[in-house]
Amino acid sequence: MSEYIPVLIMLFLAAATAAGMIVATSLIGPKKYFAEKMEPFECGESQIVSSKQRFSVKFYLVALFFVIFDIEAVFIYPWAVLFKDLGWFGFVEMMIFIAVLTIGLVYVWRRGALEWE
């Protein structure tokens, strides 16, 4: 576990730097707040609809695909590392797994979930 100590130190340093920056910038600098300034920017006009609304479902779909494909990709990592030990058997087995993955991709593709137009 000891090799993780430097990682923690680094993370801590990074966090301290980032936090320091945020604190510094929020302390330093002139401040003046008034209603018009605090409105969200929309090209010099007032916002018509709030951004807190339901937006297009396509973005959620991508998130779903990500979960599916990325989780499966994670299964491939240990196989890849031990690839030479597993030999042909492992290869064929993993190819079947990837084929299943590909079928999923083809399905998604054919259903048009990857189209944005």
Partner: protein, 396 residues
């Protein structure tokens, strides 16, 4: 996808794109209704640069309109100058000397080159190709050097006079033109390499903003946007004015009218315009550049100072303005964006009774919702750019 989406309730996002937005040139507002990234509906609001052109024209004399025409299409002011002067000359019923006509052709084409360079440059900039943008700005800078040499100003030139020109060709213009065009062609080739065969650029512009020829005509498209649809309508060829009938040049046309065709048409027109300038310079005849009609065109300064009749005419034309006979004319020239028409009404006084300009990019901008409906928000960028909406001209 639609079967998946059917039961899902999502709200459309209505968003102001503009007026102060990088793609809208600060003078247009697109009220875009978005479904995710797709444009469901679009409304265009213009008029943010309405500067009262016609009202200003009506308040000044006929000559005083020329500076205002400069600021119509400020990317190619010389064409506006020439168009207005030609319209007034048609109203009076005079024709300028041949040398003047050649010089006007040169001026027009230089302006057209600058306009197309700017347009393609801005297109590149907005698609993220910053380097292509700066290459063409550099090329435009060279063309502007030429224009500055000719007129004394870079952007708003105020060069053309009714019945003549402000001045004759300066010394060494031919040589400078040759040098500038050589450099321009080099930069043109660079940008051609950077964009025309660039897969990303082609993907962004091809099959976007396409329109059929019939529809384009119904919307009143002219200029490169109409020619991109395959209609070879060019005022310079259809109703030749000045000495365009003596010039040998081609009118490039596209096929589908999409942004790529518009881009290609503009790129090719830069080349053709350079050709025209070179021809005009080689054919340039000697002779006067101004009409010898003191009631319309100011006499030379020496005469004004030394001859009483010239002085009186000078006085009369400056104070009262020139007085075209009553009547009305419409005269169209090929602007950089399309047919630039001037409709003038004279009541016989020194001031224009009505000075209407037909702005070529006005109907083009009006077609934006038609071009954009059902497209992606990113498609607004190249489409609006290739329409080349110029605020001064569209809003006047």
């Amino acid at each position: 996808m639609s079967d998946l989406m059917k039961d899902l309730h999502t709200e459309h996002m209505v968003i102001n794109m503009g007026p102060s937005h990088p793609v809208t040139h600060g003078t247009v507002k697109f009220l875009v209704t978005l479904d995710g990234e797709n444009i469901v509906d679009m409304k265009v609001d213009i008029g943010y640069l309405h500067r009262g052109f016609e009202k200003m024209c009506e308040s000044g004399t006929w000559q005083q309109v020329i500076p205002y025409t400069d600021r119509l299409n400020y990317v190619s002011p010389l064409i506006n100058n020439v168009g207005y002067a030609l319209a007034v000359e048609k109203l009076i019923g005079i024709e300028v000397p041949e040398r003047c006509q050649y010089l006007r052709v040169i001026a027009c084409e230089l302006s057209r080159i600058a306009d197309h360079l700017t347009n393609v440059a801005a297109g590149g900039l907005e698609l993220g190709a910053f380097t292509a943008f700066l290459y063409f700005v550099e090329a435009r800078e060279l063309v502007w050097d030429l224009i500055e040499m000719l007129c004394g100003a870079r952007v708003t030139v105020n060069f053309v006079r009714i019945g003549g020109l402000k001045n004759d060709l300066p010394q060494g213009f031919q040589d400078k033109t040759r040098a500038v065009f050589k450099e321009c062609r080099r930069l043109w080739n660079d940008v051609d390499k950077l964009l025309t065969k660039n897969r990303i650029f082609i993907d962004r512009v091809r099959n976007v903003g396409d329109i059929s020829a019939e529809e384009a005509i119904a919307y009143g498209f002219t200029g490169p946007c109409l020619r991109a649809c395959g209609i070879p309508y060019d005022v310079r060829k259809a109703q030749p004015y000045l000495v365009y009938d003596r010039m040998d040049f081609e009118v490039p046309i596209g096929e589908t009218g999409d942004n790529f065709d518009k881009y290609l048409v503009r790129m090719e027109e830069i080349q053709q315009s350079m050709k025209i300038v070179e021809q005009a310079l080689s054919q340039l005849p000697d002779g006067p550049i101004n009409l010898d009609l003191p009631q319309y065109r100011m006499q030379p300064k020496e005469d004004i100072y030394h001859r009483i009749d010239s002085l009186i005419f000078h006085f009369k034309t400056v104070i009262d303005g020139i007085k075209p006979p009553p009547g009305e004319v419409y005269f169209a020239v090929e602007g950089a964006n399309g047919e630039l028409g001037f409709y003038l009404v004279s009541d016989g006084s020194g001031k224009p009774y009505k000075c209407r300009v037909r702005p070529p990019c006005f109907p083009l901008t009006a077609a934006m919702p038609r071009l954009m409906k059902g497209r992606l928000i990113a498609d607004i960028v190249p489409t609006f750019d290739m329409i080349n909406m110029i605020g001064g001209e569209c809003d006047r």
